[in-house]
């Protein structure tokens, strides 16, 4: 098995502040990897480095087989990205958003049409495909944003708190979509604040003060770190953190 994400001693400093402190991990192809940590633990900085938005201070990382520092453009073509903020354009229709992202990722007009139709059918948005996205309920918007991020069949998809503010039923549906993507061999790298969601991941890592404090399957972590729920494990690890509760970096 090749590693879809391979990170070695990745570090990012902002002046005297070390946001990400020599983290090392890998994520296998088709794995659902939960990237957990309190606000300010360094998750966002790590994701920004892995998606080519930020240059590492030191260390290496490769995503989908491409080095993030030297082959950034290749990395960009092979990843999907969905941020905690809504990533579609509210004043464009469902179909226009699909056309836009399909075009940006270099799909042909035929591919855009076929995959767009499939996507709309899957989300049961047929009767809303010409509605402006702003008029859809939040849950549908987030599912649509995820589907659009998967439109170009990326090798790795980064989901930064994708279910924030979404109702439990939609969250459940969202995770079904994540599993379906993983079954199609897409690697899923997801951050979340919901510990019940972390339980859905194949493996999770917990970041504290820029370092990875623990990593393993949810069951392993609970066993290694004194039992209880994953929530309790998380709180136990994160409580001593010097930077807990800081604004996200």
């Amino acid at each position: 098995m090749t590693a879809a994400i391979d990170v070695h001693e990745l570090t990012r400093r902002f002046g005297d502040f070390t946001a990400v402190d020599s983290i090392t991990f890998d994520v296998q192809e088709g794995e659902v990897f939960g990237f957990l940590g309190a606000n300010g633990a360094g998750k966002t900085t790590a994701i920004r480095m892995l998606t080519g938005l930020l240059v590492p201070t030191s260390g290496q990382a490769s995503v989908a087989g491409f080095d993030v520092l030297t082959h950034t453009e290749d990395v960009k073509r092979h990843i999907g990205y969905m941020s905690q903020r809504f990533s579609l354009y509210g004043d464009l229709t469902v179909r226009e958003n699909i056309t836009l992202y399909g075009g940006i990722y270099g799909l042909s007009d035929n591919e855009i049409r076929d995959r767009g139709n499939a996507l709309i059918a899957e989300l049961q948005l047929e009767s809303n495909s010409d509605d402006r996205v702003a008029s859809l309920p939040l849950g549908w918007k987030q599912k649509l944003a995820f589907s659009v991020a998967m439109l170009h069949a990326p090798a790795v998809v980064f989901l930064d708190e994708p279910t924030g503010g979404v109702d439990p039923i939609t969250r459940r549906q969202f995770w079904e979509m994540i599993y379906a993507a993983a079954e199609r061999r897409t690697t899923v790298f997801v951050t979340t604040h919901y510990m019940d969601e972390a339980e859905y991941c194949d493996r999770v890592s917990i970041m504290v003060d820029g370092r990875i404090a623990a990593m393993g399957s949810p069951a392993e972590l609970k066993q290694q770190l004194g039992g209880g729920t994953l929530d309790e494990v998380f709180v136990r690890l994160a409580r001593p953190a010097a930077r807990a509760g800081m604004a996200s970096t």
Binding site: R77, S83, S87, G103, Y105
Partner: protein, 371 residues
């Protein structure tokens, strides 16, 4: 490469849709140029409406009286004093009772009759240089009319007040403002609208998605620029139409050159808007930055309203980096003087240079990886 062009096409399409969807903004942007030209055209005139003229006529004769009556009968002029010597003028000017004085030589009619040069002295109140020169020009125009009329009936006549206004023989100040207005409208549509549109994406987080995508910074910039360029072109056309239909402003030179220069100037504004958006972190800051960084200098330091020559030295130096300063020279040259590239290449070259610098800076500012 095919995917590259389709990415740009998709992005331009998206921007165009944003513009077309926002009906209110679009209507304002389309009507604004016309409204601005019409309002500014009426309001922003240097034209002096009531010129108070003092006449010094040591030896009244039929010629001096005929010319004096021209002023008396002209609605723009009020003859405030007629005296035989220049002695009273000083106090008239000091009291601000006269704007200009017309001093006849003695034996004016005789000189005209024998065909020898008849010198007239015009003394203007130049405490306000703009209206002073306008006043002098109006006065000169009345004299020139008189000379032409007299010359037509009695052969060659020489009157020498030598105050000619070239290129704007009707002395319509609206002719001088329209090129500046076009610059102002283009600034508004280009710099401010792109700054807002780009900073909105920044604020909503969609820019992050674009930066993670394979789109290159130049493609994002081009995608933002192209649709607004079209809108700017539409504005140039409507502003010119309004100017020519309402104020009969001429376009004496090549309209292609005028449009070409407008496109060039618009691109400078668009690049500036992108740069401002890249350097600011909120829509509000971007908008204020765009207003302060483009509207103010392009209005006040461009020669549109205040002649650059009348600015203090250090301000005059600043005008060299104001794009509108160069564009206005080109637009006035083409519209009023009817000159071509041969006379305007320097100004055009400066705009090209500015565009290159701004585009490079804009693309660099987009390199997020170093942030």
């Amino acid at each position: 490469m095919a995917s590259r062009s389709s990415a740009l096409r998709a992005f331009v399409l998206k921007e165009t849709r944003h513009i077309l969807r926002d009906r209110q903004t679009l209507v304002i942007l389309l009507l604004l140029p016309v409204a601005m030209v019409v309002l500014f055209g009426f309001a922003l005139r240097n034209d002096v409406t009531n010129v108070r003229i003092a006449v010094v006529d040591p030896t009244p004769d039929h010629a001096t009286i005929a010319l004096r009556s021209r002023f008396a009968g002209n609605p723009r002029f009020t003859v405030v004093a007629v005296s035989p010597s220049t002695r009273d003028l000083e106090s008239l000017f000091r009291r601000g009772a006269a704007d200009i004085a017309l001093v006849f030589p003695s034996g004016f009619a005789g000189r005209l009759a024998e065909g020898s040069p008849a010198n007239l002295l015009l003394i203007g109140d130049a405490s306000d240089p703009n209206s002073g020169s306008a006043t002098a020009a109006y006065t000169g125009a009345v004299i020139a009319h008189y000379r032409a009329d007299v010359g037509a009936t009695s052969g060659a006549v020489q009157i020498v007040p030598q105050l000619r206004m070239r290129f704007n023989p009707t002395l319509e100040s609206v002719n001088l403002f329209v090129p500046g207005l076009i610059a102002l409208v283009l600034t508004l549509v280009t710099a401010i609208m792109t700054a807002i549109s780009l900073s909105r994406e920044k604020e909503r987080g969609t820019l992050e998605i674009l930066l993670v995508s394979p789109l290159r910074p130049w493609q994002i910039i081009m995608g933002k620029v192209l649709p607004y360029l079209l809108l700017a072109l539409a504005n140039v056309v409507t502003a010119l139409l309004a100017a020519s239909l309402v104020f009969h402003v001429p376009i004496r030179g090549s309209i292609t050159l005028l449009i070409g220069a407008s496109v060039l100037y618009s691109m400078v504004g668009l690049a500036l808007g992108v740069l401002i958006a890249a350097l600011t972190s909120s829509q509000r800051a971007a908008m204020l930055g765009a207003v302060a960084g483009t509207m103010l200098p392009n209005t006040l330091l461009s020669g549109m309203i205040f002649p650059i020559a009348s600015l203090p030295g250090w301000l005059r130096v600043i005008t060299y980096v104001v794009p509108a300063r160069w564009f206005i020279v080109v637009a006035r040259g083409v519209m009023l003087q009817g000159v071509g590239v041969v006379y305007l290449w320097r100004e055009l070259a400066v705009l090209v240079l500015m565009l290159a610098i701004l585009l490079i800076a804009a693309v660099r500012s987009f390199r997020p990886r170093l942030a």
